[in-house]
Symmetry: C2
Subunit: 552 residues, 2 copies
């Protein structure tokens, strides 16, 4: 049995090594069009920044090491240019010599990944992606050649764009970040992305939202608003699209999402061909529909599953949650499942919870505030998504939520999680438990909440906003229209509150909840502003100045 694999990085190499462990005798050939296999693609930005200093650390394996360990025939600089499905052969071209050969297969695995998205960055502009060892060698050499301060423009504020910015700044480069959309880091909802924008600006990054690069200019590039920004280097991180050229030419089915369509064992519509990685459509855990998620974890896992499938012991894949994380200077931003804006766009009912807990017990030094958001199906109480931003402890909490989603735990069941507690690691009621308590209170009707973007309409409809923080907190900054009645005085001052609907708020939502309970048990119609002053502030900061002036 002879297996050919197209692509030798995450998905392809996971398939190759697992297949060898399952089948000691079969022939396995891996074609990689680049010069390196199994390199640390997620580490590339950090090599640019000098965080990873030894280039060898990027090169996890070589053809020789893979031959010795796994008896693999790994051929770098070999591009597969066509598939003859009837003959069960592929055409291969050596990228250096141009020599073309034909190789037969019994089983074929396509793991060619994705290619940079085109059409956003002007065609004539000299840009670099940050996707290969060649890319980082080029960028590194270019920066070394510059004497004096260097400048760069990074186009696109997604995962790679943000990592590129951090690392260029770390290397002393003056960076302009150009983003087409209204926010940085599009996977997050706007109010959750606001701290990322603040962090970027605090680190001296010139962030241009609602902007594109329109042309090269003298010493830099011209943006859509006509300004010219300096750029010794332009990094194109607008995103990727599945590389399906080989698959489409061979007549394999391409899904509606644009990725190669596979079943849950990674098999294409040709029973001799499997496909895996960033070129392949995944099944979304929330919708059950085809979707694109270009994450290394899925590529590795599905690569391994491909080998199981070929070896005759298929392990059907789970739908994909899209768990993801990115570090941006001192911040960590992480998410799983769907965002609020995606739920809104799809017309899917949802309930929202914002909290701002400490990463561990506040009496132990070093606790950092996290901002958490949970999205819940109001019918089933299922967790639809979550977002967390903060410092330490963010990665832990998103992984707990991803695990809870895979385990089918409801939002209210988060209260039941028995998480490890000592004061340097968490809280007796962990932030995850707290999310569950808020969700359970909403599910039970114990509290009703109002979102930051719903406040203006509620006030316009006559609701009174009651700020239950202390007088000192109120004086330091408050929401327009709010009256201040500190929580600890609320029972005595009930008579001061005007008739009609009340919206209460505190700093983060917790005192607001207690206030709402007091008021509702005193017969008042009351809503708690979800996430309190902190979420509201983050939310309104994302509105454009004109809109903000009108709203606030």
């Amino acid at each position: 049995m002879k297996t050919l694999i197209v692509g030798g990085v995450a998905g392809g190499m996971s398939a190759a090594t697992r297949l060898r462990r399952l089948d000691e005798t079969g022939e396995i050939i891996v074609f990689e069009r680049g010069h390196y296999v199994s390199f640390a693609n997620c580490g590339l930005p950090y090599y640019v920044g000098g965080v990873i200093q030894d280039r060898q650390n990027l090169l996890l394996q070589t053809p020789a090491s893979l031959a010795a360990r796994f008896n693999l025939d790994v051929r770098v600089d070999h591009e597969v240019t066509g598939i003859d499905r009837d003959a069960k052969t592929v055409s291969v071209r050596h990228t250096q010599t141009g020599v073309e050969t034909v190789e037969a297969y019994d089983r074929l695995i396509l793991a060619a990944g994705a290619t940079a998205r085109t059409g956003i960055t002007p065609a004539g502009l000299a840009t670099r992606t940050l996707r290969t060892v060649d890319d980082v060698d080029h960028i590194d050499a270019l920066l070394r050649d510059i004497t004096g301060p260097a400048s760069a423009v990074v186009i696109g504020a997604g995962f790679i764009g943000l990592e590129a910015v951090e690392n260029l700044v770390h290397r002393g480069v003056a960076v302009t970040l150009v983003e087409f959309g209204a926010q940085v880091f599009g996977p997050l909802d706007v109010e959750m992305a606001a701290p990322v924008l603040d962090e970027l600006r605090a680190r001296g990054v010139d962030v241009r939202l609602h902007s594109t690069v329109v042309a090269a200019a003298n010493g830099g590039v011209e943006l859509s608003d006509g300004t010219i920004v300096p750029a010794d280097l332009v990094i194109d991180s607008v995103g990727v699209v599945p590389d399906t050229s080989l698959a489409s030419r061979a007549g394999l089915t391409i899904g509606a999402s644009g990725g190669i369509e596979v079943d849950d064992t990674q098999q294409t519509n040709d029973p001799s061909i499997w496909a895996v990685g960033d070129g392949v459509e995944k099944i979304d855990a929330i919708s059950g529909q085809g979707t694109l998620i270009t994450m290394a974890g899925l590529a590795n896992r599905h690569g391994r599953a491909t080998a199981d499938s070929i070896a005759g012991t298929p392990e059907p894949a789970s739908p994909a949650l899209g768990t993801a994380i990115v570090g941006v200077f001192g911040l960590t931003a992480a998410m799983v499942g769907w965002s609020e804006k995606r739920l809104v766009a799809q017309g899917r009912a949802h309930r929202v919870v914002h909290t701002h807990p400490a990463s561990h017990a506040t009496y132990y030094p070093g606790a950092e505030t996290m901002s958490m958001k949970l999205l819940v199906d109001p019918e089933s109480d299922a967790i639809l998504g979550a977002q967390i931003i903060g410092g330490s402890g963010v990665d832990k909490r998103i992984d707990i939520l991803a695990t809870a989603m895979t385990g089918g735990l409801t939002a209210s069941a988060l209260t039941r999680l028995e998480l490890a507690y000592a004061p340097q690691y968490g809280s007796a009621k962990d932030p995850i438990n707290q999310l569950g308590y808020v969700a359970a209170n909403l599910a039970a009707g114990t509290t009703r909440n109002l979102q930051w973007h719903e406040l203006e309409a509620a006030q316009a409809a006559g609701a009174t906003l009651v700020d239950v923080r202390t007088a000192g907190e109120f004086a330091a900054g408050s929401i327009p229209g709010a009256v201040n009645v500190p929580l600890d005085e609320l029972r005595e001052r009930l008579g001061e509150l005007p008739a009609g609907t009340l919206v209460v708020h505190c700093q983060v939502g917790q005192r607001g909840h207690t206030a709402a309970r007091i008021l509702s048990q005193n017969g008042r119609d009351v809503l708690n502003l979800d996430g309190g002053y902190r979420t509201w502030t983050a939310g309104v900061s994302t509105l454009t100045p004109a809109t903000f002036a009108r709203k606030a």
Copy 2:
């Protein structure tokens, strides 16, 4: 409706505040025999060590703040001395004045916690527990009074004992740790506790296993082996037992475990009396039987659930996993569910997996090695327990496993978890996924493993031990009887291996797995030494020198 609560720390105070939020009008009185309520009991050792510097940080609430915020009547220095269940009254004594009163109740919540275990520390010896604000005030004052180097003996190497040791050393005190058992930190299995012992000794702690304190001696204490160790201070951390005196005198049912028996809404056999916290029996998630788990998280959660139950919206508690964590200098040790020794003691079938992964991608700076252990039901593939020891990332992984257990995920299903990956946070195949892959390989029979403590018998029965590490690794230290055939030479050197059963091993188990696959597909009867040289080394280090000499 009038509710009395006996005990104003974790469980009692969670019940009180939640009950107020659910019921604005009922009378709630909290009796606390100590002088402080709602204090940070898990922070006490860190105040001794000076990590928490401001004493006020330990005092989260006061009777006045609880009255203002939650309209609670909190009475410190009040000890409840008796319950008249027929009259529905309690007798209360003021601990300062001795004045006795009687208070009626409609609902009574017992949250008196636990008391220090007696019978291990000699009765006449002056010791201090580390359980109250008074305790730490006393210890702090005593240490301040000593000029020159101070010394302490800590009796008992459990959670509090280890935290006490760390903090005393942090404060410059010379510490002897006296432990009755054969290992430190009894909840862990011996080979997992070995690094804790190494860490303690590396930090200069004089650890005495198989030892007890038998008497006071001149300037210190006398141990069971006759040695005298210096001790300006003796901390008694041998453990706690449920404080059930009030409950038993009132004729409430005490469970076989020794804690007050409650149903899953914390109700005792008296329908007007609830109980919560360290004094109460929990239901064990693995056995379904009553058990004692004295963790702040459960006390807080069950306190809140008690309020829900009283308010008429009961939320039945989940069985308890016993998730726990402790920091010991640079190490973190964490566990969930049952240990191997507990499974063995209960005669419960189980499968064991040891791994030693990096906390995040090794090519990114700062990765630390963790040692992980997973215990699996061989019939159902259910996760029965886990233990992790290491540095960063331990708390995250134990919480993921606890969540997986609550979600009912099997060991093999850990492969499906989609955890957040960027190189500073994890790996494309996270250590948790890897645990799942090993477990799935065992479940499928793809690999068979052998435990460190089974090796001697296997060798005695004629098995050949093959060390597949490099020659350099082999030369640096090897297992007696092993022959060295590096993995990358194995295919060529198959003929060198003697007939009969083979046991292969590498450093951590991963290369051993590949070797086992090569050998089994070449027709050999082969087992992989689980966790490799590292687990074996940790395991044999726990044997007494005499035993070790015989075994190794």
